[in-house]
Each structure stands twice: as C-alpha cells, then as structure tokens.
Symmetry: C2
Subunit: 496 residues, 2 copies
C-alpha cells in the first residue's frame, strides 16, 4: 500500500471515531439519556464537530487527496479518495466556526423540539428553527452561491438530485395518486378498521418486535431496538446497528410497521461489506437509497398479502383477544387502507407521498426565503387541507410531528418518496427471477436478502449512488414502476 493510502486510512479511522461518537450521542439522546441533559451534550457535540471539521479540512488533506488519487491501486482505494474528496468539497467552504456552532445549535434544538412536540408549543421551538433555516441558507451560499440554496441540500442527501427532477417526480405522483385516492373515497369497497384502536399490551408488542426482527433476519448479537419519540436507525459500524421504535398502547400497527421499516435500514447497514468498516465507504450510499430499503421492507414486503399470511399465526398467538373475530384478510386490508390522516409515519402507502409533497414544498419555500418560520404552522395546515383534505388537530400532530428539521435535515424528505419509487422498481426487477411472494409467505426472506445484498447492500459507498440505483432497480430509474405498483395494489384492494 502506498504511503498516501496509509495516511488516508489513518485519516479515515479518525473520522470514523468522530462519526462513532456522534452517532452514539444521537442514539443516546433519543433513546437513553435523561430528559434534561442537552447542555453537556451540546458542548461535546460542538467540540466533535469542530474536531472532525479540522481533521478533514486542513492544508494537508487537499494535498493528500491529490496524491492518493494518483496512488490508488484498486477500486476501494479510488472510491475512498472519491468519497473523501466529496466530503471535503462539501464542508471546506463552510467556516469552521459556523460548522461547529451549527452542531451545537442542533444539539440544543433536538430536545427543544421534543419538549415543544410534547407540549404542543410551536412558539417554543420556532426560535431554534429560525436559526436552523438561516444557517442552512448561509451554508448553502458558502457551498455554491450561484445555486438554488434548497437544491444545494437536495444534492447533499442525493448526489445529482435537482429541484427540476423533484418537481417532475412529484407532479407525476400527484397526477396518479390524487385521482386514485378520490376514486377510493367515492366508490371503494369498505374496509373494516374497528379492531385497530383497542388495548394492545406493551409486553406482547415488544415480543412482536422481536419476532418481526427475527423474520427480517436481523442478528440480535449486532442489533438493538430502543424506544424513542420518533423511530430511526443508525449504525456505528457494520457490527453495531441501532434501531428504535415507539409503542402506542392503543394501536399495535404503529410500532409494528416502524420496526419493519427501520429493520430495512438495519439490514442494509448490517450487510455492508465489513472490509469497508472504518473507512468513508461504510454505510449506505445516499439517503434515498437507504429509504428504498426501509420502504421496501415496510411496504413491498411488510404490507404484502404474502407477509400478512406469514405473520398471521404470530399475531393470533400474541393477541388472541384483540384479534378474536378478525380474519387474516381483514388484517391485510386494514393495514393497507388508504385514508388521509395528519401523521406521516402512520400514513398508508398511497397517501404517504402526499405527506412528503407537503414537506417538500414547505422546506423549499423556507430555504427560498418565501416562507417565514412564524408562518409555518398556518402554511402547514393549509397545505394539508389542500393536499390531503384535512387540517391537523394541533401543531403536535402537524408541523411539530417530525424531528428532521430540528436535526438540521432540510432537503431530506424527498428521499422518502424517491426511496419508495426505487423500491417498487427493484421489486419488479427481482420478481423476474424470484418468486418473492412464495418465499415471504413461508417466512423465508433469505433469497430476497441475497438479491439485495448482491445488488446493493454489500457495496456501501464503493459505487456511486447512480450506479447503485441502476444495479438495485435493474435499469435506469423510472417512477412509472412505483405508480404502477400503487395503482395495481389499490385498484385491487378497493375493487375499483
């Protein structure tokens, strides 16, 4: 190995340690830490942000990257240079002080958001969000002053993504979904849902999580499931994956589908080639590709008729009283009902992209300076009325429901809808050679995991997102697979 590559590996090991600390701090904050511990966390986070910034952005790194670019002897080394250069380019134009201060701001904003959501008090969170929006606008101007500031951030989460591509994608979705939803509401066959809201004991819900994770094939030696306000997944390295869920005592489907969703993220993280551990190639390739795996397991598998058949004996065993007069078919239809509601994470597959559209339009307006944070709750409610035909009962179930903006993630939401679209296309392609439903129905997910590992998981960031989308989907991205999937599924479900 050339000296420059050895030096590059040492730098990556150091960046790994900072990422490890930052990821652990985030998981701890959400799932473990005492509620009022943000002051010390913010101080530590600020230091780590500054240290990782300084480790990457310094006179030596540019020269090292140039040398290593020449010295790279295999695909992995070349990819390490490519990804480090990308990380370098992303932050080198942001002043170090700004970068560190933003990390501290987010460490303070996250618990403030949690309190504001619990207390249904948007005004208490607004000052944090105002600072976050202002910082994201400032930073976008540093990164590329000539570019639409919102697009700068889209491109961070999904390299190559533009406002124009998002606009076109969402327009195509809207054209297909809105009339389909109207048809369902006008003449869809009724779906029985009376059994969803009842008393679902926590101990059995937890056992259901355990069984679901086992069905997904998640290794308990390397995966933990915690509880947090908002479910999420992160990995410290391929051998340590952290998931969370949120149990609702009166609706077991909420946590179940959170676990199935987060389990998709966890499978991806856990199956990245361990040879990429401690390098910048570790972990998922882009946010939307990561979401493609969570949405694939949550919906394409988890809400399929085949999976409901597989899970049904477990559900009947754990909840005999709750499901005494419910049939397997009724359960399948209930967990797939299309019904506009105020909460994104509880939305069905059909209305889900509409929730994303609302966020896409609002966060774009925030970053364009066309919408002030103080006007956000009213704008949120108006968009929900216009897009989903309902007004949230309060801000806790409206503009305060998601943690993303509090975490500084503006420009992330489109990933969810794109991920769903990649997932639908990947499933169409995988079905050409694998009878997925037959495998899933008998609870054998190994063949599907093997396909996804081969197409996507093992590569980490070794290949570019564009290459991986192609290999995952079996061809160039085409949103018509997603639209076709939704149309077929809901036309059949509602006997349209």
């Amino acid at each position: 190995m050339k000296d420059s590559i050895t030096a590059l590996r040492a730098l990556q090991k150091q960046l790994y340690a900072y990422r490890y600390a930052e990821a652990l701090i985030s998981y701890d904050e959400a799932a473990v830490a005492p509620p009022e511990s943000e002051a010390g966390r913010a101080e530590a986070s600020e230091v780590f942000a500054r240290l990782s910034f300084d480790a990457l952005v310094n006179p030596g790194t540019a020269a090292l990257l140039a040398q290593a670019g020449q010295d790279a002897e295999d695909a992995q080394q070349a990819a390490e240079v490519r990804e480090l250069r990308r990380a370098y380019d992303r932050i080198c134009r942001i002043p170090a002080e700004e970068y560190a201060a933003f990390s501290k701001l987010v460490a303070q904003a996250m618990p403030a958001w949690g309190r504001a959501k619990r207390g249904n008090d948007f005004a208490a969170f607004a000052p944090y969000l105002e600072q976050i929006v202002a910082a994201k606008r400032r930073q976008a101007a540093c990164i590329d002053p000539a570019r639409d500031p919102y697009e700068v951030w889209l491109d961070q989460y999904e390299p190559g993504l533009t406002v124009a591509r998002c606009d076109a994608f969402f327009a195509a979705l809207r054209t297909a979904i809105v009339p389909l939803l109207a048809e369902i509401q006008k003449r869809g066959a009724p779906i029985r849902t009376d059994f969803i809201t009842q008393d679902w004991p926590l101990a059995q819900q937890k056992e259901l999580s355990r069984r679901a994770m086992a069905l997904w094939g998640l290794d308990p030696a390397h995966t933990v499931l915690g509880e947090s306000e908002h479910p999420f997944t992160d990995s410290l390295y391929s051998g340590d994956v952290r998931m969370t869920t949120h149990y609702h005592p009166t609706d077991a489907t909420v946590s179940l589908y959170s676990v199935l969703h987060e389990g998709g993220h966890a499978l991806y993280d856990a199956h990245v080639d361990p040879a990429l551990d401690y390098t910048v190639l570790q972990g998922g390739a882009s946010m939307s590709i990561h979401e493609s795996q969570s949405r694939l397991f949550e919906n394409c598998v988890g809400r399929s008729r085949a999976f409901v058949h597989c899970l049904w004996p477990t559900l009947k065993e754990l909840f005999p009283a709750q499901l005494a007069d419910v049939t397997e078919e009724e359960w399948y239809r209930a967990v797939n009902r299309a019904e506009p509601g105020p909460i994104r994470t509880e939305a069905d597959e059909l209305t889900y992209p509409l929730h994303i559209m609302v966020r896409y339009e609002l966060e774009k307006a925030l970053l364009h300076g066309e919408l002030a944070v103080r006007d956000l709750p009213a704008a949120w409610n108006a968009k929900y009325q216009q897009t989903l035909g309902l007004t949230p009962p309060d801000d806790a179930h409206g503009v305060l429901q998601d943690m993303h903006w509090a975490g500084g993630d503006i420009g992330y939401f489109p990933s969810y809808a794109l991920g769903s679209a990649y997932a639908a296309q990947a499933m169409d392609d995988i079905r050409k050679t694998l009878d997925v439903d037959a495998c899933v129905a008998r609870g054998d997910l190994a063949p599907l995991r093997a396909e996804l590992e081969k197409r996507l998981w093992r590569y980490g960031c070794l290949k570019t997102p564009d290459e991986l989308i192609g290999s995952l989907c079996g061809g160039a991205f085409d949103p018509q697979h997603y639209i076709g999937y939704l149309t077929r599924k809901y036309t059949a479900l509602y006997a349209l």
Copy 2:
C-alpha cells in the same frame, strides 16, 4: 481572564469532549449496546485514547501549564492548573502508542470478561488479564521506575496512598473484624433470612428502584438507571448522571442495595458545582472519596434502622405477598446479617472489607510479579477459604465476579474499604449537629444532603483529596471511627 487561562479552558473543553465520549461509550457498552459490538468500539476507543493523550501531552501543554500557573487569578484557575499538571504528569511518561493500545485492549477485555463470567470460563479471559497486568507493570515502570508498581497505581486512584498505609489500615480492620465475626458465628442471636430468597417480580423491583432514587433526592430529569452485569455509576457532566443496577428475580435486596449504593455516587456527581462543568475539576476528587459517598448511602443510611423504618411501608406496598409474615425488625436484621458469602457486591457491611482484603493482596501480588494470572483462580479460592472460611462454587462466583481488572483498574479495590471508613467518620461528625436518624426515619434526606454538599460534593476537584477528606470527616482520618461503628452495630444486632 489572561490568555493562558483562556487557552487552558479551551484545552479542558476538548478533554471534556473526549471524556464525554469515553464515558458514554462505557455506559453504552455495559447497558445498551448489542452483545457482539466490541470490534468497532475498540477501534473508536483506541482513536479517542490517542487523541486525548495527544491533546494533553504535547510540547505546548508544558509551556501553557507553566504560564497559566503564573497567571491564575483565583482558586478555581489555580486548581485547574494543578489538576491538569497532575493529569499531564500521570501520562506524559507513557508512550502514546502504549496508552492508545491499552485503551483498545480494555475495550476488548470487557466483553471478553462478560462472556467468560457468563460461561464460567476463566481460561477464556486469562489472555486478556495477562496482557492487562503486563501493561500495568510496564506503565508503572514508565511513571516511576523507582517505585513499587502497585503503589504507583494506588496513588493514581487515591493521591498519597501507599502500600504501607494500606497494609496498616487492613491490619487494623482484620484485627477488629475477624474476632467479631467469630463471636457472631459462635454465639450471635439467630437472624431470620428465609424470606430473602423467593420470587420478587421484576416490575415491582423496578418500581422500588424508582422510589429509592426519589428518596435519595435524585432528579429524574438528570439521572437514568440502566441495567448491566455489574452495577456502576458515571456522569457525563453534572447534569447527566448514569447509574445501573442488576435485578435478581429471586432476591430483591441485591438490586435495592445496588441502587442505594450507586445513588450515593450519583448524588455526589450531580451536586458538584456546575461552574466546574467542562473543566478538569468536574466530578469526584478521588476514588475512595467517591466510594465514601456510595458506601455512606448504601450502609450508614440505607442499612440503618431509621431508613428501614422509612422504607418499610413502600416494601409492604410493593411486595405484600413476599413480606406477608415479615416484620420491619426482621427485615432490618436480615439486610444486616453478617454471613460470609462468595460475592463482594452482595456482602454485608462486616464481611465486605474481607472481600476487599482478598483482592488487595491478590492484585498486589499480580503487580509485584509474585502471582501469575494462570494461578489466580486457585489463589483466589485459597484466600477466600483463609479469609472468609469458604470456597466459591465456581470462577463465575469467584475470580470472575468483578469487572474492575477487565477494565484495567488494578489498585482500585482499596478505595472501597477506605471509602467505608471515611463514611463512618463523616457520619460520626455530622451526628454532632444533626439528628440524622430522625431525618432519615421520616424520609427527609435534605438536611444530610446539605451537609454533604457543604463538606464535599460542591467542590469537585477544586480542593485536594486530603483537604476534602478532612472537611468531609471533620478532622484527620482515623479508621477507629469505622471499627467503632462496625463493632457497635454488630454487637447490638447479634446481642453479643
């Protein structure tokens, strides 16, 4: 504030962030992380150990400390210089590579110890312990080649402590305790213990933990209680204190007294003056002083007749069936029975120091090169037979029971016995002006907390350990207070 002090504060903030990460990683490892996640943790720990070493030990620090020593304008600044200099002197003679490698070794040894303990397999842990002992001997020779290597480490945990002082202290204890225990075994009034081992439901044990922590006055906004193999406490800063316990389904007293013990540590950490946060003065002043607070709350308070009176209604409420035919007096006597057993953390107050003596003699022999790790289980069992009159049933309940050596802490154990002795002397002094028993009996611990905050807690490391022992105990340390306390308590309990 002079420039050198500003620079010193920046250095301390950076060291704080590393400590934060290291403490969080330790807590997570013990109470949260998936069981097989040590590989990535060891890599990250090694980097952090190296970074914190480099941050402290570099050509700039020595000059900065010299300048800051001249520029310090108040007691806090002077103490910061003193403690940083101590930290610098402690590690500057250890090679950076050795320091970082040791951190990685410990990160690997801890889970290996956990597995060895669970599997009762000392041979699986021995290679780690051999490396740890060798490293501690090498490092002691770096720190002070002229000094007894064991004493080098005693002095790290308790500045000024020597082998001679330990030998004298333990000899005095042995002289008092061994005959007292023999008297008890010969002619002590019998104590009823039949109700201890039975089925104690976990949910109620957890509620008991919550009530006990509330009685201690621990603020749930700033304290969490997790579960781990071996209970411990650590704090990330004064506003974020982490405790753990270990529930035994067949004996509720084990977790109860762990919580009372760890709660003493937690109170101390939580009451250090917040002005010391993010400096090296944050946290407890020495290991034995920290143990004085845990042992004070566990024993001098938690095992007092007054506290049993205060807790009794709670116990009867939570465990009506288990305690149906038990009286308050019987409970008091049962949780204070002196009975040699194999497990240190479950030992009564009287036999506890004997457990410490065993460890003191064995770890001294290990560091003196007089005992090989492979001979340790046999030596352990022989010492237990000789000192406590019993042989542990297996290594899991013998040499593998404590995590300290796996964590690299050799020379720590004497702190526990010293801490108990400080606690007894402090209580004697506090009782001169405060009717502790009356307060405790009515569940009002505020006056006792106020005394301890005034004498000890608020200072962190602002004063030296010697100064703090004096202010805590109300005079120079004298082990006769501890011996007197044990003698009075056990003579009365057993009607000798």
